[in-house]
Symmetry: C2
Subunit: 93 residues, 2 copies
């Protein structure tokens, strides 16, 4: 009798939101707010535009996936001088 002893590698999906810090002027957001106002949506107050990034990570445990997502944000995805980021991890298999 044979058993398959190969360990299955887990995968996680990191859902990352990168947003401008509140003190930074968001000109793109302002433009969208004016455009919505021109379309008749006067109850729209402020618009802030950021990035949304989904990263699939093949790691066995959540801690490693978390570390990789955090390092990816700090090194590549977010400019931490001007931007904040938040990470939400989800197991996908």
């Amino acid at each position: 009798m044979f058993f398959n002893t190969r360990q299955r590698i887990m995968a996680y999906k990191a859902k990352i939101r990168v947003t401008l810090r509140p003190s930074i002027l968001d000109v793109q957001g302002k433009a969208v707010q004016h455009a919505l106002d021109n379309l008749g949506y006067s109850s729209v107050d402020t618009v802030r535009i950021g990035k949304y990034i989904e990263v699939s990570i093949n790691e066995d445990n959540l801690a490693d996936a978390e570390r990789i997502a955090d390092e990816a944000c700090r090194k590549l995805l977010a400019n931490t001088v001007m931007e904040d980021y938040s990470i939400e991890l989800e197991k996908i298999n």
Copy 2:
């Protein structure tokens, strides 16, 4: 004795994620994936890049805020031929 009878207008924050449809090639995401691979993060599988938009809406009820957020997505924020969007509403006062 005086009472303030002015009705307070509620505000909602719509958190909108606009993502490329799965069938559309994401070249920006591919570039980020290669960059992460070059930095040594070989367990990163796929990267998809989208937009994250926060919209503050001054409306008295959730249904109106929802309608405005949905119309803003369809008319301005998302290209529904190539992109999907999801809206999450949160009361802010």
